[in-house]
Amino acid sequence: MIAVTPADAGYPPRLRDLAHPPDPLWIEGDETALRARSVAIVGTRRMTGYGERVAREIASSCAAADVVVISGFAQGIDSAAHRGALDGGGRTVAVLGEGIALFLRSVRGRRRPLVPRVRASGALVSEYAPAFCAQPWAFAKRNTTIAALAEAVVVIEAGERSGALITAGEARRLGRPLFAVPGPLGSAASVGTNALLAAGEARALVSAAALLEVIGLQGIHAATSPTDPILEALAGGDLDADAMRRRVRVTEAELAERLMRLTLAGRVTQTPDGRYRSRS
């Protein structure tokens, strides 16, 4: 683990845009990832299946264009973004709201297996001392660091008072391009993002290519256009078998066979409660 100060040459240049840049910044992993082309992808911890899919898709497209995905390593959208980048073969940087050593010791659940992958391909960074214990205000401060570190910010899903909106506000202050993903009306996880769009504070994100163009890159591949009616039905969110049959209108046997083939091809997975989810 190393610590860099704004006076050091190796200090991430974009962070100097902040009124109070982190001093020092603790880095565990590859510090060159902090100077590479990058996009921040943030959002709520209480994501929906739709948000998870979009986060992974966008992150994976960024990875394909060799753009580093920056996020906060929280549960939900943040983790989905890190995972999408790693699965797409790219690099990712996790900006923590607590000390790195403390985080490494205490992280549990779905994020734990992700830690070594993030360390190996990118970096874990924190503006707090390694043993610093998590505090609510520390996460708010961390959110502004994420906005500064990236060239553009994408909010996938955010509730009414989500911390991701702090990142969005800071992105606007710093003049970073800000995108929000339009969500279904009535979905609590999209109230914040839809409000950003309604107020004209963020651009609507309709494809990864548009995002990459804004930071001056060509999108490697256009947004996936599902041709399979099952994948099309799943694009709006997770579905149970009955709902799927109402949409796709095939016999039970045919649906079973096609779903099975999509599952085996890795395009569809099942949630623990027995519904189907599209996987990009």
Binding site: R46, M260, T263, L264, Q270, T271, D273, G274
Partner: protein, 510 residues
Amino acid sequence: MPIAVAPRQTARSVARVAACALWGLESAMVTVEADVANGLPSFTVVGMPDAAVSEARERVRAAIRNSGFEFPLRRVVVNLAPAERRKEGTGFDLAIALGVLRATGQVTHDADALCLAELALDGTLRPVRGVMARVRRAVLAGVSAAFVAPENAAEAAALGADAFGFASLRDVVEHVEGRVRQAPSPTPLPAERRDHPVDLRDIAGHETPKRALEVAAAGGHSLLFVGPPGTGKTLLARAIASLLPAFDPDEAIVASAVHSVAGLIDPERPLLGARPFRAPHHTASHLALVGGGSPPRPGEVSLAHGGALFLDELAEFSPSVLDTLREPLEEGAVTISRAGTTATYPARFTLVAAMNPCPCGHAGDPAEQCTCLPDAVDRYHARLSGPLLDRIDLRVHVPRIAYEELREDGREPSRTVRERVIAAHERMSARLVGTGRSCNAELSVAEVRRHCHLAQEAETLAAEAMRGRRLSARGFHRVLRVARTIADLAASDEIRTADLALALLLRAQA
């Protein structure tokens, strides 16, 4: 074990009376031998009696005196043969009393019947548990008559024995001596066919959950419903009672015998008419669920033998309690070991369980937003251990349904579905004839190989599934058993691709 019947004589020193001991559902004939000899007055029971049997001495002494007979002021020894296993319960009272009366010459004829009742101090006969299993053993051993309390008479008569229900010890003696002959109890009424409280027709929508229910009912596969609260998981689960195939007489006897041991028999209609449906609450202890205590009593899994066991709010059950389900799910029986005794109860049941998708219950619920963090949802599902989930063949999401659907009737009434279930059940039991098992869930690995023929295309899909989903060998066999049932429901000898695909999908492994 044949009972030695001594030639009749007026008085002799050693008397023999037939009784029966019970450990779980396992039973053995016991000969109660009574000897009255000169010596200091005493009354001893030997032959591994437990506390309840030893206490019989006091009840027998009082009952004999209060029935107008004389208790000998001599040395009385009663032996329960064979003496090597511990005898439990109060069912030996009548046999001991008759033995003493016969040995002292106050009764001059042998009883030639299984004697199975507890005695009250005034000589009244009281009912005991587990009459059915013991009378069945006696009939097999060639003792065709049974002397029991009036409350137990129907139970004994249901198994074809000449059952005599006597009110008191006095009545028994009058009958044995031939002074007042009593007629055997009539064969009890056949079990009533109940109307099932829930019919599939009453449940709107939910075609896939209903399909899973049909597959579970036909093949005995275990089923888990996952869905938000109020979507009808419990109603669906209860509907399985209306789909289960008819009870075959032998199965009904075993299931009734378990209920008889637990003391849950209707004295009027002792034979169970429909397959049992048991729904223990999620606060149940492992004793209540798999049985136990001293003497060991059957638990809910055994009371559900031959029928269905419904565990609502599966994730709310204590994890250690759920873990005890593994043995019955795998073995189809529960063995309870206690110091000195071991009891085995059958426990072949169709497991139907229901749970919420997450702690708040609203994951995937269009009506309400889920407020759970992803890790909390994971922890919630982790409450169910891997080995238990591995033994659940069908996992189906029960969604909240739209109002328009709610107004419609279900497409098929239970009667129609049950006809398919029965036809499929017949196909599978024909394959398993002579094995004592009757449904696809119980196929052994060798039988899976023999009976689960995959069509050519299905074979390719199976190979892909094995590779792609990293199915364990056990998991794969479970999928094949379910696919076999789906094919049986379609009356197909071969498992077609669609059957296998549906089986794989209904297994729903995240």
